[in-house]
């Protein structure tokens, strides 16, 4: 296993005409990913996550910067010499070989002796829970077992420095997704491989990874634990991309103590106020945004108790969607739309107000989080 250092890495396709018009597919970045970590690259299609993965695996040579594994420069090494393993979107198995032979394949290619191969293969079969199917033809397996074999061909090797996953659950049925995902998680917890997982599905990314790398338009917007990304998204894109539904982002101005949304004051917490003053946001009267997670909002009856509460504001209910586990309540505040989650079975008040938590109400300037520096 290895740590991965992406040193001033950037990429433009067709480097020959790297003129000003040719945009970066991947904007220059500098990242160090720890040995044994589980990382997820999360973003919409075309955000550059696959480009980054291909650079790490060696299928693509970056137009600038270096890739270091444990400090060793591997930028010019071919895929096979980087000692990485990869699981692709569609399962790749060697049809004519059995499950056990598929797992033995990478070891045979490296000329290992048969006793070692046998020991490694049976160990890997146990890891994957495929002991019983060892002698079945790989072709006859289901998509989820085939993906396990693809993973197994990486696990079986002792020299693997990182295992890369390229949207590995795309063709797996929802119920089996849960199984495969947790098995992957367990394998990571038990054996500590460095794993990098590319996906557009936030649930997969958040449940799998210790650190999630959120990307958009060729740039890394934030790297953080699932909790950090959920609680303090540094970019409004991260806020809206992560979460179902995403964060409510409303246009506002800062009056020195509160965010004002269409005339409604939402008092902010101390740290945000200090940070906003430090940037001179109160004086300028610039257009800002306030972000609130639907999960942090509580729908209450707009009665007497809410009228005096500074952390409550009245809203119009414009729609309710029962999603089973909870209801998604669509609301309007002034001219802007937002939504909140309401527990299963609870009644929706006719005249509604929202109670919010200033500590979980974030302020954004030009899409970037307003927070204390350092």
């Amino acid at each position: 296993m290895a740590s991965i250092h992406l040193k001033n890495l950037g990429h433009r396709y067709s480097a020959s005409d790297a003129g000003i018009d040719n945009p970066y597919a991947l904007n220059p970045l500098d990242q160090v990913w720890e040995d044994g970590g589980a990382y997820a690259l999360l973003g919409p299609s075309g955000c550059g996550k696959t480009t980054l993965l291909n650079i790490i695996s060696g299928l693509l040579r970056p137009s600038e910067g270096r890739v270091l594994f444990d400090g060793e420069d591997v930028t010019d090494l071919s895929t096979e010499r980087r000692n990485i393993a990869q699981v692709f979107q569609f399962p790749v198995v060697y049809d004519t070989l059995t499950v056990a032979e598929n797992l033995a394949f990478p070891l045979r290619n490296r000329g290992m002796d048969s006793a070692t191969i046998e020991a490694r293969v049976s160990e890997t079969l146990t890891m994957l829970g495929l002991e019983r199917r060892a002698n079945e033809r790989a072709r006859s397996l289901n998509a989820d077992d085939k993906q396990k074999i693809s993973l197994g061909r990486g696990l079986v090797r002792t020299d693997v420095r990182a295992i890369l996953f390229d949207e590995p659950l795309t063709v797996i049925d929802p119920h089996l997704k849960w199984q495969l995902r947790t098995e992957l998680k367990k394998i990571h917890e038990r054996y500590g491989h460095t794993m990098i997982y590319v996906t557009h599905d936030q649930t997969e990314a958040l449940t799998f990874a210790d650190k999630v790398v959120v990307m958009n338009a060729g740039s890394i917007l934030q790297v953080g634990s699932p909790k950090e990304l959920f609680d303090r998204p540094r970019h409004t894109f991260v806020g809206t991309f992560i979460g179902s539904p995403g964060m409510n982002v409303l246009r506002c101005i800062f009056d020195g103590e509160a965010a004002v949304v269409d005339g409604v004051r939402l008092p902010l917490d101390e740290a945000t106020i200090i940070a906003a003053h430090a940037r001179g946001l109160a004086a300028s009267g610039v257009s800002l945004e306030v972000g609130m997670r639907p999960e942090s909002l509580v729908l209450v009856d707009a009665g007497a108790s809410s009228a005096d509460d500074p952390h409550c504001f009245n809203v119009d209910v414009i729609g309710v969607e029962d999603l089973g586990r909870h209801s998604l309540v669509r609301l309007r505040l002034g001219q802007q739309l937002l939504c909140a989650l309401h527990p299963e079975g609870a009644e929706i008040p006719e005249a509604a107000a929202l109670r919010f938590d200033p500590a979980r109400t974030l302020l954004y300037e030009s899409s970037l989080l307003v927070e204390a520096i350092g």
Binding site: P174, H175, T207, P226, L229, F230, E321, R325
Partner: protein
Amino acid sequence: MLRLANIARRVDSHNALEDISLELKRGELNILLGPTLSGKTSLMRVMAGLDRPDSGELTFDGESVVGVPVQKRDLAMVYQQFINYPSLSVYENIASPLRVAGLERHEIEARVAQAAQLLKLEPYLNRKPANLSGGQQQRVALARALVKRASLVLLDEPLANLDYKLREELRAELPVLFAELGAVLVYATTEPSEALVLGGKTACLNRGRLEQFGPTLDLYRDPDTLMAARLFSDPPLNSVALNRDDGGLRFEGAEQAFPAAVTAELVSELPATEAGSTLTLAVRGHHLRLGPDISHAGESVACESLIEIRGTVDVTEITGSESFVHFTFMGQPWVALLDGIHAFPGGASITLYARPHDCFLFHTQTGNRVRKLGGGE
């Protein structure tokens, strides 16, 4: 109205479809929910007239359409793959079924403009499909299906190949689009969450058999069979075998029976089961709570009226706002979906509580629901 009566079809000596009867009304969204190879696509092909059923009747507005070739049927279809004419512009793609139908020029223009507006494709009308993103390409395919104003619209996992967030956006938009059509709409999906967002009615399919058909939320909250409940659970449904004897109900192999209050709330009367037969208790992950004094919608519940579940933690997945705790209970894999962050290490013991009200009881052998007498829920 599309009526299917006892539709059956065999493919390669296994039953692709087995005795399926459904009534799908105009203006309603009908969801076919089931895993891969459960018969969703087979059923749609029969509805479209692409395949003939081996037996059974298929009528549209009272007229039999068995054997009527697909070209002569008034229907539109959208597939999982983005299928557009690559050499035609977006405008021409959307207009193509209208040109085939021989509509007048101004009528075509009006309809394409309307569809493009609904699906937010106006800026792209002159582009070729290859220059669009996946989401936009699928919008074009949707527009082509909608513009036809067919009386039967079949959508086979139309969002499966799209990005997660795009899927979320389109899911929210689709019911609005569908409501305006007045057609019989059939929508296949593998994902329970998609069915819930779309609403309408849902037919649960499993191995070519119809498990249950009804309003989506009723099916979710009140499944008739264990399989229907399983199909409609994401994360997977938790289940455990129960024994019954004179002392009441207990987990199979457990010493102690449930408190009387729990048994009373689960079943008004112990169901008469044959000797040796067991019951299955099932509960969804988000109905499991950590503390005994859970408050539900304001009211707090006493400990004696809860089912206690003690398991060993397998692995915990944390999404940032919720935790999926996978644990083993009575030898079965269970999962609890808890709000907030709860990091349990593997191997730790965990105690969770469920309200009997949230649990389903099934006959293990038949998979049929054991309901409370008197119909009280």
